[in-house]
């Protein structure tokens, strides 16, 4: 690297990290990072589990029951519960993103209202789903 490029690099403006001491934690930035985290979480665990389940089902009753046994162990249940919340949250918040992309709901008040709706709706839906699937409802 030449001295010139090194100097240029040092002069580059850096955008401050949203999470950290530069910005006060805000609803919008927290939900934004949660959208990313839930997307990565769903990609790694949700998609893999879905493929695993489909393959087991396609292999017949024995393989399918083995898979169900594995998925009903308590660590798997915790994972499935978290995935359940993640998919509701990411999908609903994803719709919020798509609405922004059309240029709507960008005012802070509207964005925050939609954020609160997304949080309440995804938590409620996740709890109701877990209750239905668990046989309590």
């Amino acid at each position: 690297m030449t001295e010139e490029t090194r100097k240029q690099r040092l002069e580059r403006p850096l955008s401050p990290y949203m999470i950290g001491s530069y910005y006060k934690p805000q609803l919008s930035s927290m939900l934004s990072i949660a959208h990313r985290a839930s997307g990565v979480f769903l990609s790694i665990f949700g998609a893999t589990l879905m493929v695993y389940w489909l393959v087991a089902l396609s292999q017949g009753p024995v393989a399918y029951h083995e898979a169900l046994m594995l998925l009903s162990a308590w660590p798997a249940k915790v994972l499935l519960g978290l995935l359940c919340f993640a998919i509701y949250y990411h999908s609903l918040n994803g719709i919020r993103h798509l609405i922004w992309d059309t240029g709507r709901m960008l005012e802070i008040k509207q964005a925050n209202l939609a954020a609160i709706i997304v949080l309440i709706a995804s938590s409620t839906a996740a709890i109701v789903t877990v209750l239905i699937v668990g046989g309590w409802l």
Binding site: T5, G94, T129
Partner: protein, 126 residues
């Protein structure tokens, strides 16, 4: 002031001239998934606790095979585009970045093929 690394200029990175397609791909796959995820949630609630036979018959029906294939295609495309951006944002050292980008492509491809094969096998059992 030119703020770009000369090497990046030489390689043509920085602007890879594919940003718009990527952006649209992420949005189109997201839009497609809205009805498909609703179908998936309905499916989970409908088949949970049901005996194998019932689940197998469900997945041998035309409409369900078609929807399952559409979901797998949209989801893995969305995953590949999504994880690509996350890696671009956080991983700046080579060769790690290239390796991770290739792993993401491999993951999406392997997941798509495996899931489609399972869905087709189920469809043919009907």
């Amino acid at each position: 002031m030119n703020m770009r690394n000369p090497l990046a200029n030489a390689r043509g990175h920085g602007s890879a001239k594919s940003g718009t397609e990527h952006w649209w791909g992420q949005r189109v796959s997201a839009l497609l998934m809205i009805p498909l995820i609703i179908w998936m949630l309905y499916t989970i609630i409908a088949i949970i606790g049901q005996p194998y036979q019932v689940v197998q018959v469900y997945f041998s029906q035309w409409i369900n095979s078609v929807l399952a294939i559409a979901l797998v295609l949209a989801m893995f495309r969305h995953i590949q585009l999504g994880l690509q951006v996350v890696i671009e944002d956080y991983v700046h050292s080579q060769p790690l970045e290239t390796i991770l980008q290739l792993l993401v492509k491999l993951f999406a491809l392997a997941g798509t093929i495996t899931a489609l094969l399972a869905i087709i096998r189920l469809a043919l059992q009907g």
